[in-house]
């Protein structure tokens, strides 16, 4: 597998240099591995910090900006960042109203963010945390590290970001973030494995004519392997997996998300089938986002996330946002 890179060792630093060059509205610290909105800290506003392994772009750096994150901490590819990054980020974005850490539920992310929270509080920053664990493919959480955080992260960051933008205090922003996290469910499918720069070959073997159901976003295999399916069959299986876990009682925000290597043409076609499947099961879709937002390098495949949204969440979703990857209203 060929990659458009210099050497594996500098992939993250190179990407940060490229972000710095493309986005003058961001402060990118290449050596400290931080992406911060240029006008941080915003006085009196709760600061939102997230982060995680690289390879999921535009998550999280592409979501930094007014109305969403104040800072992102990119780790090595598929490796959660280190506490030093989050501590620096917290200091950079604390406008006196405290900081919310948005953490995807992986052992590495949780441990590093926990350590960072302790250290940041030692430095006088008030820190709250929200854990995103939306992947229904991880079934029995008592015998696992718990559900993974995937596409739901986008909804948490956008909606909590809007609440912070409106001036909500830390406990309120954290409460809304947790409410969103509780309202999200995701399920993903891979048609191919991805290739990490360090490994240089696909992370697992997925022969032609087979696919993986219930994959995560770190190039790990899924829970079940099946013979190749049509978009329609995949949509039905995906929607069934989601609804078995949570039958929405309110209209949903829908994310039909590409894993990185699937063309937009196919993603839109898949959205048609997902919508058909949801319609048939009585789920009302209020908003739809189709595209590559929470990716797994060059993996072919897609995930579907829904977020059950009451009036307030819908209003906060529609509120202005101005980031590299999500932008409306400004």
């Amino acid at each position: 597998m060929k990659q458009l890179i210099n050497v594996p060792e500098t992939v993250v630093a190179d990407a940060l240099r490229g972000m710095a060059a493309a986005h003058p509205e961001l402060t990118v610290d290449v050596s400290a591995r931080l992406v911060v909105r240029r006008d941080a800290p915003v006085a009196g506003k709760v600061g939102l910090v997230s982060g995680g392994g690289s390879g999921h772009e535009p998550l999280h750096g592409g979501f930094v900006g007014p109305g969403m994150l104040d800072a992102a901490c990119p780790g090595e590819v598929f490796t959660s960042p280190v506490p030093d990054q989050m501590v620096k980020a917290a200091a950079a974005v604390d406008g006196g109203a405290g900081v919310l850490f948005v953490v995807k539920n992986y052992t590495g992310d949780v441990l590093n963010f926990d350590m960072a929270a302790e250290l940041a509080e030692d430095e006088g920053v008030q820190v709250a945390k929200v854990l995103v664990a939306d992947d229904v493919a991880v079934v029995d959480s008592t015998f696992t590290a718990g559900r993974r955080g995937t596409g739901g992260t986008l909804f948490v960051e956008k909606i909590a970001g809007a609440a912070a933008d409106e001036g909500a205090p830390l406990d309120r922003v954290a409460w809304i973030a947790r409410k969103v996290a509780d309202s999200c469910r995701s399920f993903g499918v891979a048609l191919t494995a991805c290739t990490t720069p360090a490994k240089g070959s696909p992370t697992f073997d997925l022969p032609d004519g087979e696919l993986e159901l219930g994959i995560g976003i770190h190039g790990e295999p899924g829970r079940e392997r099946r013979g190749m399916m049509t978009a329609r069959e995949i949509a039905d299986a995906t929607v069934d997996a989601l609804l078995t876990d949570l039958q929405p009682t309110a209209p949903v925000l829908l994310l039909v998300n590409g894993m990185g290597g699937t063309p937009l043409l196919e993603l839109y076609g898949f959205n048609a089938e997902v919508r058909r499947a949801l319609d048939a099961r009585g789920v009302v879709v209020a908003r739809t986002l189709v595209g590559n937002y929470v990716t797994s390098l060059d993996m072919a495949g897609a995930s579907v996330t829904f977020c059950q949204a009451d009036e307030e969440l819908l209003r906060l979703w529609d509120a202005p946002v101005r980031t590299a990857a999500l932008r409306w209203g400004v």
Binding site: D84, Y106, L111, V139, F143, A145, T196, K199, P221, R223
Partner: protein
């Protein structure tokens, strides 16, 4: 058996060397049931440890391990960074600022470190993690460094039939069976490096 600062510096050195040599294998193990980065994580971490130790020249065994642990936390990330960082930092704290220690002292320090790992990660024996190499190693350390190395190696191999209940591998459920845990494999390397640290003297 006196274990002085030189011994602990040589241990860290041997760890860096062995992890570098085995990085590809560790990453391959992680590819099978994780996310294919464990070797790179460990290599990056111990390279940073080598630099930090050279720069700060810590004067006691406790200071060596504390610095190494802090450096792992600041440079590795992932699950392994905080866990291995805690292992060494807690062990270092346990050693205090004595200029040297002995086998029972090392054992008590590592026991404290492993306890730190278990608390932080919430895993128990048999969950298919680094603990499955570390716990038997601490037990066997009574019989000397070589015994500990053998026990750790055996512990790592014994993770093969286990079903993972912690870390990324747990997402695979039944499909995690039949693979060796990468963290247990790296733990076995670190324990084996203790033997080299004596030999290198």
């Amino acid at each position: 058996m006196e274990l002085d600062t030189g011994f602990f510096l040589r241990w860290m050195d041997a760890c860096a060397r062995d992890v570098d040599r085995e990085a590809k294998t560790l990453t391959e193990l992680d590819a099978a049931i994780g996310d294919a980065d464990h070797g790179d994580n460990m290599r990056r971490g111990f390279q940073a440890v080598t630099v930090a130790l050279a720069e700060e020249s810590p004067a006691t065994p406790g200071a060596v391990l504390t610095l190494a642990g802090r450096t792992l936390i600041s440079s590795v990330g992932g699950a392994a960074g905080p866990l291995y960082g805690t292992l060494l930092r807690r062990a270092g704290k346990e050693l205090g600022d004595a200029p040297s220690t002995d086998l029972p002292g090392l054992r008590a320090a590592l026991a404290a470190g492993v306890d730190g790992v278990a608390r932080l990660g919430g895993a128990a024996a048999g969950d298919k993690t680094m603990l499955d190499a570390l716990l038997p190693a601490v037990d066997a350390l009574e019989g000397g460094l070589q015994a500990a190395a053998t026990a750790a190696r055996q512990g790592a191999v014994d993770t093969l039939p286990l079903l993972a209940r912690k870390g990324r591998a747990s997402y695979l459920g039944e499909r995690s069976v039949g693979h060796q845990d990468p963290g247990a494999a790296s733990s076995a390397l670190l324990v084996a490096a203790l033997v080299e640290a004596v030999g290198d003297e």
